[in-house]
Assembly symmetry: C2
């Protein structure tokens, strides 16, 4: 019987310290922690409350390694070349370690978040799945765990389907490694609101007549 | 100068009480509250930290009414017929009120969340925008405000672009009304974890040989 979690650290502290964690300690995660995190994930909104999310909680070491290998394949097969010029050097180094250095497989748990199209319509799938993934990531932070939103392994969905015996109609969207962070993460860097917020209509700035 | 918000109510209390609010009191929302909510939104993760979200904070009454009218047009033009059989009667009644009864325009603020494709790649847009929208919705709850994730008005993006003078390459994804809830919302209803969680591989249950 799942109980709905309550309490936890202050909301804004969790939200404003969220960072992608890519290096993990091997300490196992207790079942009740995983349960609270997944319960938070299922409290995301979804179109028509269809709750199309499905989770595969992967603890098995060989399967975690196989998932990490899929991510490596996508990363070294083209994604790195695409992303490298746009990433800060330290981030690129971390992603390299994560994708090819075994860091992702070192996380004691990888959660594969999937979408089941049975009760929803295709155009509403992503607006339901990603809020669920975000709740999962935030809840991991609330529990003092590191996590990151990765999609590499899902970009060759048929291999992931075969590995996890997913039905043909189930689409994997994210592979979220979870574990104790191997090192402290700094604060996230963000553009100031003034660069992204407009009032009542788009401010075209210098481009206005 | 934006300060990063801290504190707030306990994380799990915010997450597990999130509900779609569709009826609002007209009380204005202070600027600092909007600023905290939007700062939370911008702390979502995004592919390559591209931060592709852009916001139009609509307080202008005529514009809010025009946005609500776009939603009405989509709802009565086909969406209601599609959704009605799948919605609980009380929810359908609320959505009807929201979409055609002026309830959406009654919210003192509607935030239009848009995506700017300049610094990201198309396949990563939704995995960045929806976590941002989810942070926005959660932060609204942390502030004691009601909010809901609506997309109806964005389904005729050219009319919304014209109304808000959005550049052609900016895509609106969500229209989030914000305001004091006109009535208390009950707890969300969710399937138990046992129906959506699998361990190490998909459990095919009765379908297994």
């Amino acid at each position: 019987m799942t109980t709905t979690p309550s309490g936890g650290p202050p909301f804004y502290d969790v939200v404003t310290t969220q960072r992608a964690c890519r290096t993990f300690l091997p300490d196992p995660i207790p079942d009740d922690v995983i349960e609270r995190i997944l319960t938070a994930a299922t409290h995301a909104p979804s179109a028509e409350n269809s709750q199309p999310w499905r989770f595969v909680v992967v603890r098995d070491e060989a399967k975690r390694q196989a998932i990490a290998d899929l991510a490596t394949k996508v990363w070294t097969g083209g994604a790195r070349q695409h992303s490298a010029p746009k990433l800060a050097e330290n981030i690129l180094h971390d992603v390299d370690q994560s994708m090819t250095g075994g860091a992702m497989a070192a996380a004691p748990v990888i959660v594969i978040v999937c979408g089941d199209p049975a009760n929803t319509f295709p155009s509403a799938m992503e607006s339901s799945i990603w809020p669920c993934v975000q709740n999962l990531l935030l809840a991991a932070g609330a529990e003092g765990l590191g996590a990151s939103l990765t999609t590499m392994a899902t970009l060759i969905p048929d291999k992931l389907r075969a590995l996890l015996e997913l039905p043909d109609d189930i689409t994997p969207y994210a592979a979220v490694p979870l574990g104790r962070p191997a090192r402290a993460l700094g604060r996230p860097r963000r553009r100031p609101l003034t660069e992204v917020v407009h009032h009542d209509q788009w401010d075209h700035g210098d481009k206005s007549p």
